[in-house]
Point group: C2
Amino acid sequence: MLTLGARCWLPALRFYSSAPRASARLSVRDALGAPGASGERVKVQGWVRSIRSQKDVLFLHVNDGSSLESLQVVAESSLHSRELAFGSSVEVQGQLVKSPSKRQNVELKAEKIEVIGNCDAKAFPIKYKERHPLEYLRQYPHLRCRTNALGSILRIRSEATAATHSFFKENGFVHIHTPIITSNDCEGAGELFQVEPSSKIKVPKENFFSVPAFLTVSGQLHLEVMSGAFTRVFTFGPTFRAENSQSRRHLAEFYMVEAEISFVENLQDVMQVMEELFKAVTMTVLSNCPEDVELCHKYIAPGHKDILEHMLKNKFLIISYTEAVEILEQASQNFTFTPKWGTDLQTEHEKYLVKHCGSVPVFVTDYPLAIKPFYMRHNEGGPPHTVAAVDLLVPGVGELFGGSLREERYHVLEQRLDRLGLKDDYQWFLDLRQFGSVPHGGFGMGFERYLQCILGVDNIKDVIPFPRFTHSCLL
Amino acid sequence: MLTLGARCWLPALRFYSSAPRASARLSVRDALGAPGASGERVKVQGWVRSIRSQKDVLFLHVNDGSSLESLQVVAESSLHSRELAFGSSVEVQGQLVKSPSKRQNVELKAEKIEVIGNCDAKAFPIKYKERHPLEYLRQYPHLRCRTNALGSILRIRSEATAATHSFFKENGFVHIHTPIITSNDCEGAGELFQVEPSSKIKVPKENFFSVPAFLTVSGQLHLEVMSGAFTRVFTFGPTFRAENSQSRRHLAEFYMVEAEISFVENLQDVMQVMEELFKAVTMTVLSNCPEDVELCHKYIAPGHKDILEHMLKNKFLIISYTEAVEILEQASQNFTFTPKWGTDLQTEHEKYLVKHCGSVPVFVTDYPLAIKPFYMRHNEGGPPHTVAAVDLLVPGVGELFGGSLREERYHVLEQRLDRLGLKDDYQWFLDLRQFGSVPHGGFGMGFERYLQCILGVDNIKDVIPFPRFTHSCLL
């Protein structure tokens, strides 16, 4: 062991500085934020986003994904070369100086420009100086992240993910990885994907899990397991629906943020967390990615900034399902589906309700028992034939959250499962009510719809890195 | 809209305090950490973990999952009731006072104890005062989280998840949700799960995605897409292998932390991040969950504390694959598989190497090209017939990380894909090298193996909430 000698030890160097270098390596974001910019010698790496050649001077903009803004590079014409073109990757060494222009604080006075990887402009589907429509970019899932629009959306998605984890951690929630493959069908929806070993494998197919296995449609039932031990739990992961839909609001694979809270007293306890989550995550995103959000609100969804501000500064409204149906029945608008107590709200109804409520997000509570899943808590003593369910409707998107109190009473749940012929399959779920049951409730939020809602992005396929839907599974 | 009236507004109250209450509601963790404990009136909710009745006094321990430690409740005997038993859920109101005992700082002098949910002790598989073996608990995936052992492991898992996200965020990595359903087979391993709409659905099965679709085995190729736009990206999500294995180190569904870094200069740049990640996350876990880690190191894996400290305080070692084979060839131990240059390292070899290196994690680098996947970078000018691959071997677990530099040279990659007959399928992957290609590299870490490694938990099924493996998909 000792014979391995000194060269075997990983040298105790700082992160990323594995060899001594003449110039400090900086990300574009750090270079742009450099306080003095007083001739510091640095090295910046990234992709050329624009190039402008004058008689004596060459201007480049270099972007490395660390921010929307690129770093301006100024060089003598002699540093130009044929390979230096839009889309190519470069390493630039030089001095970070104060920019004489008002358009940026800092620029890089290049001493050396090295082209790392060429870019064949003719074949490159992203064209210099063109603002490609999002639909066009969807054809190139492997390249669209190189545009300003997708770059901004993906940085915002990353920031919103981090903010979601922080929100729950700060509020004492334990994170649980609920399973992706499951033998349950939580919603009874039937729109399930089934999982089997690929035919290449020698194991007899039917036998891999010994039971039929599906992709999860919700982590709720598994979170309910955990709420018998932890009073606050959450999960944030992929969920699946084999829906034959090409709608701008549906995907076959999408992300859900789900939480479950034990010892809740009423639906307001749950709604409070939903509103807090929405506002806290959004405020963090606005404060950490202002330029990225501005891009969306300026070029993708003009006018959306005001809509979002209106949502944030107002308390969310609460109406009951029964009131909602009354409002719809009294509406002067003609609906394709006539609103009627006992039937589900349609997209056109959701839109009308949000508008009616002044484009503030609105909680609709206490839905008919008959149209909701078995696990929701029966409102005894409350509005008749209803369950303690709540949906949050938001402008532009419709249903963003769904939640409920869960039926924690053993005998009520047992009866309901028995009537549905599900008692044997859900004995474990009944067990949770047999051993120290507690009143609990929770919710799920569609993460892509959340991003659509705050950014104003019309099509859900543009707020997820690799969208999966009917007839499409690119890469 | 105005007619909705004041009652529609969600009252502006603090988180969780939706109604005025006599006593402040506290989590057990907050109650235990209350600084003064000077008779403050509080309400605590949770599950009874122990109960001891003396002539005049009743002692309870109440746990709510917020910490391993329970809160001691002291009450007059008159507050006892038949329903108050091990496993039942309770709400206790009273005064938080300094405890006369040395075993805790604080105790709750109960004024009112309400049993919320009974617990049928006979039917409850978890027995009072018994320390059930982990194998026994595996039979009850819906109840095992109610034990100290699983409670601690799940809190640690949650903390390690948060620490992983923080590590990457602080180091400028953008989080990417790589897809779960994919038309690729990254490793060419063949042990894939296939995804199809369940037979209940009316859509012609073959047509859902128009192509065969599988569950991902790694997010790497999709991260490589992103490293053409962002210099640092990571993903942390579920991955799948249809391996017919019941081993203590394999699952059909497990979590991977994967990162990809652009403009790397060599393998050391990648190893540096691997070591930093391991150490930073572990230090955070140790500092945020000391009692939970102590439980594991005391009852589940005695002696493991020293093993972990030894890993943390030493620099990880580096040896080449070629050196590793030499060490194995010179070993006095008889191996089942004879070590030989050009073949994969077996578990027995990995174990020997780690021991040989003084039980410090060891990076093994530069593997034979012939046994590694097509995307790894050929070491031209380096050790002959090798690729710039690296595995990190750790005590007890074996391979914890796998990483490599990726082949960024268009023509080298094209040739290799052509030879494998994969050129058409991976044209998009070649595209990444045609438009501003950059040297890049990355790694993946098995998250469950990481938890096994730091906690000393022998079986991987005990560090994931709901394990999936051959013949088992419970709940």
